[in-house]
Structures are given as structure tokens and as C-alpha cells.
Symmetry: C2
């Protein structure tokens, strides 16, 4: 059997009871994180423009926009919610492929789950299966697909979103393969748009297109059943190299969703080992920024490729500047949303320090690894090697850390009480469903 149909078969057969407990637990962690980063961006300009646009287009009141409580069509809710959660570049990351799976897949699954009033277990199942599909599809083309310039969160995400949608819609086997085909022809997204509003838009677009692919497949639309493997199919056209075997390999020995890391800082995941090193040095030695002569970073090559902006001018650009990230860590001793405002990026103290930082790529380092050396003007050196950044597979964010991140993000927009209530509901999702969570997330003005 060919890859697309085989994948559809695996995804169709998967039941909630087949999922190991670490997988269902990880899905709940992803939902909590997705909700937190989304709520923190509910009032952001990117979200507001998109939300206003969607309200202007109009739509049946099928699903809820996170935070606002507006009820729009499932396609529209997937679009806005899948965008919102990526606005701060603070959502979870599959470290091997740099896919941010929750934005497209939870974005799609939640809209449909709410509309169809499915149970918490079915919601978790749809997300687990959709994510696993997207991550394995991503693995089959990584790194050459990403290196070519594709925004893999969107290109692979739309396929996972369609799979998640099919699980909710009860579409199996060839109907699911059909949905993957409809999704594949909508697969898009270029890395050129990193650092603009068009970046977070993409996972939302993928979520929305995945929803539509599932619904059209369910309505009898026809498509190819060989979307992934055909000579002019997804993998061949979108990637110079690919190896599809990873897609159909038995999932049970190692679910890829377990390699999804929760982000401790709202910047590109590749900046995290450097930030860890800077924060730890700040904590240990508290070096006076004025007396720092220079800072030397040794980092994985992807760091400079993705986050090499030396002179960021906006908060958003700051996320794509390892220099700003490390300078903020050394200046403020923390790296949260406040460190990526336009003001902070233009803070003279940070700017002066930023110019003292030199970064060097080393292909001997792993992406989760970095070395930070501070040269003080008195001749002292402080040096730290980070082997596994916080949030990496080897050094995962604990459930307590995740809750702390959630509180930090959500308390400013909801009350402390409702943040706690949301957390409780999410940890107990097997026994509820998406509606109470979405209802509890509405921000009162």
C-alpha cells in the first residue's frame, strides 16, 4: 500500500485507548501551552486585524475565537486561533523539525471539536493523531525542505490539521487520504516572512485549510490518494530530498509528539541555549552590563541563519536576533514578553550591550547546545556551556514550569482565579470537552 493511504489507515485505526499515557499527557500540556500563548496574544495587533477581518467577512456562529468569545465559522475560528497562538513565537516546537505543531493542529481540531460537541477524549485523540502525522511528514523532508525556504509549520501543519479534522468528522481510510490530498494542494508558506505578521498568519491559514480539506472530503470532493508520494506530489515538489519511510513506520515505539518542547522564552527556539547561558551567568555572577567588554557566543549554525538580525528595530524583529535575546537576558535577568516590546529593543542599555556580542557558528554544536563567555573590562571571564537548553527533549519543561508560564501569560488577561480554573479543566480534559475550556477563556472587558 502506498504512503498516503497507509498513513490514512494508521490514523483511521488509532483509538484513544491505543494512546500511551505520556502521549495523552503531552497533548494536555500542548493544549495548556497553546491556550496560554494564544490568550496572551488575544489583544495583539496581529490578532485584532485578523479578527476584525473575519468579523467583516461574517460566518455562522459555529466556533469560538479564543479570548474574545466571538463565534464564527469553524474555518474562521481555526484561522484566528491558529494565528494567535503563534503571534509571540512562544508556542511549542518539535525540535527535530522546528515545526510548531499546536498552532495549526490544535487550531483546527478545537474549532471542529467545539462545533461537533465531541468529548475531551476524542479531542485529545484528534490532536495526538494529527500532530503525529504532521511531525512524521515533516521528518520525511527535513532538513532539505526547510533549508529550501519552506515554513514547515504551515506546509506540514495543513496535512496534520486535515488528519485531525478527519478524526473529528469520522472520516477514514480513503476519505482521509482524500482530505490529505486537498490539504496538500493548499500546502504553502515561505520563511521570507519570518519577522512579520505574515509569519503567525501561516499556521492559522494551515489550520483553516485543514478544516476545509476535511469538510470537503466528507462532502464527497475527489482528490488524489497519493498526495505525499506521487511523482508530482507533495514530497517531490516541495523538497529536494525526502524519505517517506518514517511516515509509515510503526509509531508505538517512539511517538514524535514526545519530542515536542514547550518554550521557556518567546523567541525562536534556536536562541534558547544562548539565553539559558546568559541567564545562568547573570544569576551566578550578576555582571554589571557597563563593565562587560564583550560577549562571545558559540552556537549551532541555524542560530545565525534564523536569528542573526544584528540591529532589530521592533519587538518582533528582536525575536529574530540572538544578540537582542542575550543582551536582554544579561540586562534584565529574564526573557519574557516584556523583553520583546519595541521599547525594549530600542532601550539604549540593551543596544549598547547588543553591539558587544559576537556570535560564531559551530557545526560541532547541537541545536540545543551553546557556550556563552563574558569578558569583563577588568580581565575576568565568565563562561558557561549549556548542553541541553530548557525545553529541549533532554531537559524538558516540567508540568510546574508549564503552569508557571501559563499563569504568567494568562493572569494579566483573565483573573488569577480563572487561570487556575482553566488549568484544572485542562488537566482533567478526559472528563470534559472543549466547550467549558473555551467558555472559561473569554476575556471580559
Amino acid at each position: 500500500m502506498e504512503v498516503t493511504r497507509k498513513l490514512a489507515e494508521t490514523c483511521s485505526n488509532m483509538q484513544y485507548s491505543d494512546l500511551p499515557r505520556p502521549v495523552t499527557h503531552q497533548v494536555k500540556r500542548c493544549i495548556i501551552d497553546w491556550l496560554g500563548v494564544g490568550l496572551a496574544a488575544a489583544g495583539h495587533e496581529t490578532t485584532e486585524i485578523l479578527r476584525s477581518h473575519v468579523l467583516q467577512m461574517g460566518g455562522a456562529p459555529q466556533a469560538t475565537i479564543v479570548g474574545s468569545g466571538d463565534r464564527v465559522s469553524v474555518e474562521q475560528a481555526a484561522l484566528v486561533n491558529g494565528t494567535m497562538s503563534h503571534v509571540h513565537d512562544y508556542d511549542d516546537t518539535h525540535l527535530t523539525t522546528v515545526i510548531h505543531p499546536s498552532s495549526p493542529i490544535i487550531g483546527a481540531a478545537t474549532a471542529l471539536a467545539e462545533w461537533r460537541s465531541i468529548s475531551g477524549r476524542q479531542w485529545i485523540l484528534a490532536i495526538a493523531v494529527g500532530m503525529e502525522a504532521a511531525l512524521r511528514i515533516g521528518l520525511s523532508v527535513y532538513p532539505s525542505h526547510y533549508d529550501r525556504g519552506w515554513h514547515i509549520t504551515g506546509t506540514a501543519g495543513v496535512l496534520g490539521a486535515a488528519v485531525a479534522g478527519c478524526k473529528i468528522e469520522g472520516l477514514k481510510d480513503d476519505r482521509m487520504a482524500t482530505a490529505m490530498g486537498i490539504a496538500a494542494t493548499q500546502s504553502s508558506g515561505l520563511r521570507e516572512f519570518f519577522g512579520t505578521m505574515t509569519k503567525p498568519y501561516l499556521p492559522g491559514h494551515a489550520a483553516s485549510n485543514g478544516v476545509r480539506a476535511a469538510l470537503l472530503a466528507g462532502a464527497g470532493f475527489s482528490s488524489s490518494l497519493r498526495a505525499l508520494e506521487a511523482p508530482r506530489g507533495w514530497a517531490s515538489v516541495l523538497s529536494p530530498c525526502h524519505d517517506l519511510e518514517v511516515i509509515t513506520r510503526d509509531w508505538s515505539p517512539s511517538y514524535e509528539i514526545l519530542n515536542v518542547g514547550i518554550k521557556p522564552y518567546p523567541s525562536g527556539v534556536v536562541t534558547h541555549p544562548g539565553i539559558d547561558g546568559a541567564l545562568d551567568l547573570k544569576k551566578k555572577f550578576n555582571p554589571d552590563p557597563k563593565r562587560i567588554e564583550s560577549v562571545e557566543l558559540q552556537v549551532h549554525p541555524l542560530v545565525l541563519e534564523l536569528t542573526g538580525k544584528t540591529e532589530p528595530r521592533t519587538g518582533l524583529e528582536g525575536k529574530f536576533s540572538i544578540y537582542h535575546c542575550v543582551a536582554s537576558a544579561l540586562t534584565y535577568g529574564k526573557v519574557g514578553l516584556d523583553e520583546f516590546t519595541d521599547e525594549t529593543v530600542l532601550d539604549p542599555q540593551v543596544m549598547v550591550l547588543r553591539n558587544k556580542i559576537r556570535a560564531e557558528s559551530s557545526s560541532e554544536l547541537m541545536p540545543e547546545e551553546a557556550q556563552v563567555t563574558i569578558h569583563m573590562s577588568d580581565g575576568t571571564d565568565h563562561c558557561l556551556h549549556i548542553a541541553h537548553a530548557r525545553g529541549s527533549v533532554q531537559n524538558p519543561i516540567t508540568d510546574e514550569d508549564l503552569e508557571a508560564k501559563f499563569r504568567m501569560l494568562v493572569t494579566p488577561v483573565l483573573s488569577e482565579e480563572r487561570a487556575e480554573s482553566l488549568l484544572r479543566q485542562c488537566w482533567d480534559l478526559e472528563n470534559s470537552g472543549p466547550e467549558p475550556v473555551l467558555r472559561e477563556s473569554i476575556i471580559s472587558n
Copy 2:
């Protein structure tokens, strides 16, 4: 100035009075053809599934779905109308790039034009500029982009749709470049889906995404201003080779829209020289199909690549079979929509003849060229060389032919009287606008 901004500047500056008369006349021909092929597909299953889907999603009553008269959001109208007109593979074709420009660009422009109640002249202007942009963007990457497997009507179409949208929304220069960026990251479509409902879906998807790109750019969304030329921008990522100079070259000496051909037959444009040859031989010698020993075709290599299906099983697959096309021409003496039903494809008479046809690729032939030789069982040979297929740039469909095609398509769904009224309105578009045309197109049940 860089390519994207330069293109945006050219498109922004272009006024109705700048358009040569052959260009405005060609836009009207394209509108007539687009409307005719769309109306002929108004009741098609593909259209019906998509229309029902859109109605289920709901939307503000901003723009009209052609034929049905349903009023939906501009995004949705662009989606359905841009799909409908490609359902029969019968819409116009830019022969150099095989882009079908009207489906995505008139699809997008008409929805917005109706919503904003703009004049006929502004509608024509938006279409002319959007098409020229899409065709030149297509030229810059053709053929390697298409050869790689991209459905160029969608990938270049979304950019042209965004440009047309910006003309209607009054967005200029950097705002238009921004819209092109939002469009570029949504650029998608794979040739694997040819021969399925997912093929016509793609131009509709491009139209809808182009509308959204223009509206988001107008609402202040940010994007890259270097969508086309950036190292990880559209051309580099989506095409192995590209030469962007054609995009910004002075348009006035030769508008590409003048190289858009109206299709005389509802099948892949590459089948047309072969069909011409078969029809002319049928007319001249009326060979008895039972006494045909074999048929030899010499065709451009693209013919077998795109339409090489030897055993089509459905009407849709028949469009992608040069064998079915030629066998139908020799059997029925005409090649219209009736020759691409499931029944015709399975007609034993056609099937027997189909198996007697051999096609040979010759790289010495032009795409608009073919040679057809019929070997009769009595030893007689009939041979015809077609130098320029009907509908090609050198042998264009006349306005009278276009009207005949329109009547043939539209009279079965509207009355003869309304078909005539529509034709009159379209030829006089400078003096009206999109609303009367769309109103006159509503099919009463």
C-alpha cells in the same frame, strides 16, 4: 528598486486610460468566456459541493455566486466563482505559461468589484493589471516551475488576484507589495491533482486568498516587501530557475494578456492541435470509424506528459487523454462538453477507436502544432498538419466564435434571450459595472 516594489509601483500607476484598446477588448473577451464556462458548471457536482460548503460556513452577503445568486462573503464568492470557471477545463489559457488567468483573477476581482460597487472601467482595469502581473510572474519561472510539478494557475494566480484586489481597494506601492507578500506565502498547488475536483478548486483558492491578501494589507497587516526576489522568497523557493527581469520590463510594447487564448474545446489546451486535425479530417473525408486501421499522432512532448491517459474511466479523466479527445473528434465530429461525460468515455465505439491511436512526442513540434495521420483498412492514408491550433495566438478565436461558445454554454442554463442580453452587457462593460452582469446571470430554477 527591487522587483516586488517595482512591480507594485507599475501596477499602482496604471490607469484605465493607459490601457490600449486591444487590452480592454481582451479583458471583455475574458470576462465573457469566464462567465460562460462558469455558468456551464453552475450545476456541476464540484460546484455544488463547494457552494454547499460555503453556505454551511455562512458569510456576510457581500458578493454573488455566479448562476445561483447566493450572496456570500467576498472571499467565499471568489472561492466558488474561481473554481466554477475551471471545472470544465474550458477557461482561457496563456499559452506560453499554461496559466488559466481568468479563474483566479476575474474570480477575485469580480467579488470585490461587486462589493465595492466600482465602475465597469475600474473592474476592467483591475483585471488587466492583475492578469498582466500574474502572467509576467509566471513567465519569470516558466518552464522550470511548472516542470517541477507546480499548478502554476494557482501559484502565480494568487499574486495576480492580490494585485487585482489592491486596484479595487485603492492600495498602492508598498501596501500593494505587502499584499503580494501575504499572497506569496499562500501560493500553492500541485499538478498531482489534475483530473480530480481538487484541480479546479485551486484557482478558486487562489482567488479567495488573493482577496484576503488585499484586504489584510489594507487593514495594516505587515509582510515582506521582497516577496518575489528575496533569497527565501517566492521565485527561489518555488522554482529551480527564474529570471525576474520580465516582470519589471516595460509592459507597453507587448501586453501578455494579448497572448491569452480562448479555448475551443473543454480539454487540456495541449490536446487542441490534435483535436483540430482530427475534426478537419473528419469533416473532409468522413472516415468510417470501423474501417480505421490506426491513427498516428505527432505531438509536442507536453501532450503526453499532461494528457497521456490511455484508459480514461471518467469524463474528467477523458480531458487528460489525447486518445479520448481524438477518438471523440473522429467519432462524433465535435468536441464539446457532451464528449466528456462518463458515458462518452465508456462508449464502446469510442473505446475501440481510442485503442487504435498511437501518439509520438516530437520536440521539433511547437505546442500549438500537431500532425494527424489516419490509416484506413483499405490502405488509404489521410494526413493533416496543424500549424497553429484554433485558439492559439496565431489563430485566435474570433469574437463571433467566442459568442458562439458562450451561447452554446449558456443557453442550456439561461434563456436564449438572457444569454444575448448578457453578451450585450459584457461588450458594453465600460458603461456599466459588475452588478447588472451578475444579476442577469442568475439561473431561475
